[in-house]
């Protein structure tokens, strides 16, 4: 019955290298095994991770057909398989009619009377079993076991390889689908400028096919808009040299096949082989539409600014001209005209401030304005604000004092914006305080500094406290100002990643406007 062992090993090798298609592997395997051992039924079972039984393949000699029950899971409990796996040793069933295992009963009905289960071990882990079934009782013996234990490792390897290969193939197919259907350009480019991957979407976006990128070294950069070429090249070199660990949102222009300029945004990471950087991989998104909208938005803000500011500017210039043209001398006319002049100037100033505030908040909210971050000293800034507002405070008989701790750290922030913020809070305090005191206090917290503008003025009730930072909110319609100043303050604090709030004991009991700004921990 048994041919020599050498021949069997050769056969098994044939199985291993026959194919990486799992059906073909099983087919070859059953054909080869049938040469050396008689069976009426052959099955290979593989264990799933959660220890269910996974019967992948059943071959029946009589019908000469193979039946692949892929994906059908059987419970482990009560099966021959469980025992084989548990003890990692072969199991023989001499007579299935005795019903030792639950599966015996099922197989007995199919005419299988004796069974042999051999564990499949791969890298010291049981991955499943090979099971034989015979119509004859007491068919399998120790002899079969000894023979099979010799070839089982090779079988296990063949099966596991095929299984892994199929998993990889599946993953690869998913990956391929992602790359082929992605609207973004996904790419891999080696250090020498050669593309090792370029997704087909590149053709939709640039008009040039992926092949053109594969066949031409440095093709990507040559499509770059002239003025952007150097910048893009430098950023990519920084990744390749290891100066930068990633590229985020690098915006640049390319000229497509039709000669149209497009905006792309690039995100990329280095490709590493051990510690060596051998290329970059990443994706490019077409952001032309977004750029167009940005430009529209910027133009709109610019035009609105122009339209609102021009008449006010001219009114101001006219008032100035008027002032210069009135001849002092006639006391009555001069008095009258100076009164009119005063009204005009006040209201032009008021209008100017409202327009400035509205434009400021629309710029802040639209994100058109970028922060100009630098090292700033809060002590110096507060002192500046105090000297600028001392007269205003004095006019309402208010005292203005600074009580900041001397060791307040230098923070990173937009100086103009923080100046605006403190100025507004102090100015606001002055507005609602008479014959009182306005103090600017500071506290150093673990990761941030907290500034408080405290006044002894009118105070706020609960409802106002809750709404005071809303845009256009005013306590009463006649309250002066545009009702937008504190909304701007809130916006400034937020874009600096800080917090702002107000505390007050209630009406007539003063207010404390507080805000925090983060202390930067890095030294860049």
């Amino acid at each position: 019955m048994f041919i020599n062992k050498k021949e069997i090993i050769l056969s098994i090798n044939r199985i291993i290298f026959s194919s990486l298609d799992i059906r073909k592997v099983y087919q070859t395997m059953s054909n080869e095994l049938l040469k050396v051992i008689d069976f009426d039924r052959l099955s290979v079972t593989l264990i799933t991770e959660n220890n269910n039984l996974y019967e992948t393949f059943v071959l029946s000699k009589d019908y000469e057909y193979t039946n692949l029950k892929e994906g059908v899971l059987y419970p482990m409990e009560g099966s021959l398989m469980k025992r084989v796996v548990q003890f990692c040793e072969p199991v023989i069933v001499d007579d299935t009619s005795k019903g030792r295992f639950l599966t015996d009963t099922v197989l007995f009905k199919e005419g299988i009377h004796s069974r042999l289960g051999i564990p499949l071990e791969y890298k010291e882990r049981v991955i499943g079993s090979v099971n034989f079934g015979s119509k004859r009782k007491d068919y399998y013996s120790k002899k079969h076991i000894n023979f099979f234990l010799q070839i089982a490792p090779q079988l296990a390897m063949a099966i596991e390889n095929t299984r892994l290969f199929n998993k990889i193939k599946e993953a690869e197919e998913k990956y391929r689908t992602v790359i082929e259907t992605s609207p973004d350009i996904i790419f891999e480019c080696m250090k020498d400028g050669k593309f090792s991957l370029m997704s087909p979407s590149v053709e939709k976006i640039t008009g040039y096919s992926a092949d053109q990128f594969y066949n031409n070294q440095g093709y990507g950069l040559s499509l770059c808009y002239k003025e952007d070429q150097e910048r893009v090249q430098n950023e990519i070199l920084k990744i390749l040299n290891g100066q930068n660990s990633s590229l985020m949102d690098l915006e640049f222009r390319v000229v497509n096949k039709q000669g149209i300029v497009l905006w792309l945004s690039l995100e990329a990471l280095p490709i590493k082989e051990g510690n060596r950087i051998i290329g970059i991989e990443g994706f490019c998104r077409n952001i032309t539409e977004r750029k167009k909208l940005d430009e529209l938005k910027d133009n709109l803000i610019r035009d609105v600014t122009h339209e609102l500011k021009t008449p006010v500017a001219k009114m101001e210039m006219a008032i100035d001209m008027f002032e210069r043209s009135t001849v002092p001398g006639n006391e009555h006319v001069f008095g009258k005209s100076s009164q009119i002049h005063e009204i005009l100037r006040n209201n032009v100033n008021r209008l100017k401030n409202i327009i400035k505030n509205i434009l400021d908040i629309s710029k802040l909210e639209s994100g058109t304005e970028l922060l100009k971050i630098s090292d700033i000293s809060l002590v110096e800034l507060v002192d500046q604000v105090i000297s600028e507002l001392k007269d205003t405070a004095g006019r309402k008989k208010n005292v203005l004092i600074q009580q900041l701790p001397l060791n307040i750290p230098i923070i990173k922030a937009d100086r103009d914006k923080i100046h605006h913020l403190i100025t507004h809070l102090v100015d606001n305090a002055i507005k609602f305080t008479e014959h009182g005191k306005i103090s600017i206090l500071g506290r150093i917290l673990p990761n941030e500094v907290e500034l408080t503008v405290e006044d002894t003025g009118r105070g706020l009730d609960k409802k106002t406290r809750e709404r005071v930072f809303e845009k256009f909110y005013k306590e009463t319609p006649s309250t002066f100002g545009s009702g937008i100043g504190l909304a701007i303050c809130k916006n400034i604090v937020q874009i600096h990643k800080g917090r702002i709030w107000v505390e007050s004991e209630g009406k007539g009991r003063g207010a404390q406007f507080k805000f925090t700004l983060p202390i930067s921990t890095n030294n860049n």
């Binding site: 610019r302 122009h306 021009t310 001219k314 210039m317 100035d320």
Partner: protein
């Protein structure tokens, strides 16, 4: 006498310029748009060109960029005048020999800016 070219499309603004520069030691030419401005610049060398930014047709900033591209006009001293804040014009600084005058301005600021510009040419 120093010669000024002012490109300004707003008639009222033109009046302000006339009023402020009256009696000063300048020869002033006022034109209402960039096209005519360019024509004048081609005819004659001005000591200073004052450009409004937002104008119908070619805008002041574009005219400025055009001037800087041609070697003949590379050195023409320019003052950009606008209600827009300085940020809008900042990117033009790199093109050289330009300063910014925010509207509204009074006579002193205008004269001061012109003087500064003229002195920096010496």
């Amino acid at each position: 006498m120093k010669e000024l070219l002012i490109v300004e499309d707003d008639l009222e603004m033109q009046e302000f310029y006339k009023d402020m520069l009256q009696g000063e030691q300048f020869l002033v030419t006022l034109v209402p748009n960039a096209e005519e401005g360019l024509k004048k610049i081609k005819e004659k060398k001005y000591d200073i060109v004052i450009l409004d930014i937002l104008m119908e047709g070619i805008t002041g900033d574009r005219l400025f960029a055009l001037l800087r591209k041609e070697s003949r006009y590379k050195e023409v001293p320019v003052i950009m005048a606008s209600v827009l804040d300085e940020k809008t014009y900042r990117c033009f600084q790199a093109l050289g020999n330009v300063s910014f005058l925010e509207k509204p301005f009074n006579k002193e600021r205008l004269l001061n800016e012109i003087t500064k510009r003229l002195e920096s040419q010496k």
